[in-house]
């Protein structure tokens, strides 16, 4: 890890004390009586769902801030304890509904780590590809909504144009546009259809042009620069202390990407760069997102090259204890039918133990802590919600911010409330 040299603008950012997540109004201001307390959310156009920000305003300036979460708490972790491992795979996708494939992967990877499974290369490369497509999808949603929040309304539509194409690709391969359940313990649920590769190639060729358009619209736009440069500063030290990860950390000048640091899937076999920017402001977070999109396209192209040579290879391990038997065997083999019944009704068993698996999801380190008692159900599943941690930084980023910056900053932290509240 290398921390880029930080520019001088960092003077003044510090984590509030004693509560790191709450910006408290200074007493002398509070006594002045000019503080207007405004409730941003839980229903507000730009709080990414149901985030509630209690904001103390001194005129237009934000002097106090507390983020209140929990409005979307659905108890995924408790629910998953009641389901078999197999059925529980459908849950993590719905936690961060913008990065569904990454979330699904992190849970499946935890199961596989406990089981000690090695998955076939086709599944490895396909998972890499889909994870990167999903990163593109997530960044596009981020870009579109952030543009919308800062008033660049057309950005939203352009970003969603490409997002649609990605969702179409997901529909093609997995059968569903968002919550795909395509990754199963041991590999993929189904083989990759023949028509996927040319469709995906088309997208890979189109996407860089679209990114050029986004950059033409925003990157050098004077108003966009005014709105984002020097806003929401977060120094490298503060970002690490606050547990920030992903684009937020990289925009603060920390060269840290789990895909490089502890490579999983096929990330050690593909060629890509990690964009790092030193300033830690909203503009740098925007640049990191844009550059990561370009890198993702590169990775997808490389995955396609490999996958096209893997035609006809198995896509899931041949382990009858964990994987459903091939369908044609159900009609011929009694053993297979029994396995089928056992896996569906009781589920497979996962050895006792606890693991923590972390991957680089679009928003940063997505962790999954799983405890198994050796039974067919998880004993405990805990997700490290990246957005949950990202929101902790709002109070630190918010020094010297105006109301309009508040929107830009919360947007730039890229939070998905489903993941925050879980």
């Amino acid at each position: 890890m290398a921390i880029l040299e930080r520019p001088a603008i960092y003077e003044g950012t510090r984590i509030p004390s004693p509560i790191p997540t709450v910006l408290q109004v200074p007493d002398e201001l509070r006594e002045g009586g000019d503080i207007l307390q405004v409730n941003f959310g839980p229903n507000h156009p730009s709080t990414h769902g149901v985030l509630r920000l209690i904001v103390d305003l001194n005129g237009e300036e934000v002097v106090g801030l507390e983020a209140v979460i929990g409005y979307l708490h659905t108890g995924f972790e408790k629910n998953m304890e009641q389901k078999t491992w197999w059925k529980a795979i459908t849950y993590p996708e719905r936690i961060d509904y913008v990065a569904f494939q990454n979330n699904e992967y992190v849970f499946v990877a935890a199961i596989e780590k406990l089981l000690g499974l090695d998955i076939p290369p086709k599944a490895v490369w396909m998972r890499t590809l889909l994870n990167e497509l999903n990163r593109l999808h997530s960044h596009l949603v981020w870009l579109g909504t952030s543009g919308l929040e800062l008033g660049a309304i057309s950005m939203f539509w352009y970003a969603f144009r490409e997002r649609e194409q990605i969702l179409d690709l997901f529909e093609l391969v997995t059968g569903y546009r968002m919550h795909t359940r395509y990754f199963q313990a041991g590999g993929l649920a189904e083989d990759v259809p023949r028509g996927f590769y040319p469709e995906c190639r088309k997208f890979v060729e189109w996407m860089p042009k679209a990114i050029d358009d986004y950059e033409a619209l925003l990157s050098r736009n004077e108003i966009w620069l005014e709105r984002t440069k020097g806003i929401g500063l977060l120094s490298a030290e503060d970002a690490i202390a606050l547990g920030q990860s992903g684009p937020v950390l990289r925009a603060s000048g920390v060269d840290w990407d789990l895909r490089k640091a502890e490579p999983y899937l096929a990330y050690d076999q593909v060629d890509f760069d990690v964009p790092v920017y030193p300033n830690g402001d909203v503009y740098d977070r925007y640049k990191v997102h844009i550059d990561e999109m370009r890198q993702s396209v590169r990775i997808v192209a490389q995955c396609l090259d490999v996958l096209e040579g893997l035609e006809g290879e198995p896509w899931i391990v041949d382990d009858r204890k964990i994987v459903l038997p091939p369908r044609e065997e159900l009609h011929t083999s009694m053993e297979s039918l029994i396995h089928h019944f056992k896996i569906v009704t009781e589920g497979y068993r996962v050895p006792e133990g606890e693991v923590y698996v972390a991957i680089e999801a679009p928003r940063g380190e997505m962790g999954c802590y799983v405890v198994s008692d050796g039974g067919p159900r998880p004993w405990r599943v805990k997700f490290r919600g990246t957005s949950f941690v990202a929101l902790e930084a709002t109070a630190t980023c918010m020094s010297n911010a105006l109301v309009a910056d508040l929107i830009a900053i919360v947007g730039s932290l890229d939070t998905v409330m489903g993941e925050v509240d879980r």
Partner: protein, 328 residues
């Protein structure tokens, strides 16, 4: 050669309705054009190509409940949209849209009222209309509305100055405050857009701010203040605010056409109002194009820009023009 009062009355009635119609179809134009710029069709369900959409919107707004917050201050809350609407409509009365015609033995002017201080009338009515926005936001007793109304107040007052200063050059060159004279003068020389290009830019920027259009739509910044001063309004009361805003935009565009683009003058003189209309359409489209492209400014940047950039430039433009006019 003055026209009888009843012709003015008929004309006023016609123009009010025309302006309302123009407003209705400006909303449609905006939605269509924005739609095409954003890769979608825009409204296309009501009538052929969505041409009846404004009518449908009107019916919807009238039928909708006009919500009245219990904490709102009754009279100002109800009167505010009316004030805005009235001033917006009244300002259009001095805009000339044609050269004037002879019908039978009566003379018909190309504007409703030929006032010798027309420009001042427009600005005065515009300033008055701001009260509607301010009072409306304040009387809603909502924090978002209050913030929006504060922003309106500061923004419109600041940009009003630059707006007035930016047209000084034109006034000096024409030597008159009457819009009719200014247009006539441009017919004999060239449109003032050429010599007054800086004035035009200042006028345009200040005009965007004055009419709360993107990228200066801070008073109603929907992603920050929800909808600013009209957060608590609904139904036709909200509709009146919306009408006022759009008519302000049309008036401003009309003023721009009049002051800088030679008003109704065009290649074939009898088609005067048509040229006027086409120029108006072009200016309004540019307003919409801006909205599709630019992000929103921040409040302090807006104020800084207004006082530190726009005002000095507009002043300088006026001074230089004055010097040149005196010199030659």
């Amino acid at each position: 050669m003055t026209e009888p009062w009843w012709i003015s009355l008929i004309k006023a009635f016609l123009i009010i309705n025309l302006v309302m119609l123009a407003f209705a179809y400006t909303t449609l134009l905006e939605r269509k054009l924005l739609g095409r710029m954003q890769l979608r069709y825009g409204p296309n369900r009501a009538g052929p190509y969505g041409s009846l959409q404004p009518i449908a919107d009107l019916i919807k707004l009238i039928r909708k409940e006009s919500f009245f917050p219990s904490s709102a201050i009754d009279l100002p809350y109800i009167v505010a949209p009316v004030i805005s609407m009235f001033t917006a409509l009244a300002a259009f009365s001095v805009i000339p849209f044609g050269a004037g015609w002879h019908l039978w033995h009566w003379h018909v002017d190309g504007e409703i009222a030929n006032v010798s201080i027309a420009l001042i009338v427009v600005f005065a009515l515009g300033s008055l209309g701001i009260y509607g926005f301010i009072i409306g936001g304040w009387a809603s007793e909502s924090k978002y509305s209050l913030l929006g109304s504060m922003r309106t107040c500061a923004q419109l007052v600041s940009y009003e100055v630059s707006l007035a200063l930016s047209v000084l050059g034109v006034v000096l060159m024409a030597g008159s405050l009457s819009l009719v004279d200014i247009v006539h003068k441009q017919g004999t020389t060239i449109p003032y857009a050429a010599p007054q290009v800086i004035g035009l830019l200042c006028f345009f920027v200040a005009g965007i701010a004055e009419t709360n259009r993107a990228p200066f739509d801070l008073p109603e910044a929907d992603t920050e203040l929800v909808a600013g001063y009209h957060t608590e309004y609904s139904g036709m009361r909200w509709g009146l605010f919306q009408t006022a805003e759009y008519i302000n935009m049309i008036t401003l565009s009309a003023l721009m056409v009049t002051l800088f683009f030679a008003g109704w003058h065009g290649p074939y003189a009898p088609l005067g109002p048509l040229w006027f209309f086409l120029k108006l359409l072009a200016v309004v489209s540019i307003f919409i194009w801006l909205k599709a492209t630019l992000p929103r400014l921040r409040y302090d940047q807006l104020m800084r820009f207004g006082w530190k950039v726009l005002l000095p430039v507009a002043t300088l433009n006026a001074v230089v023009t004055a010097a040149l006019v005196v010199a030659f």
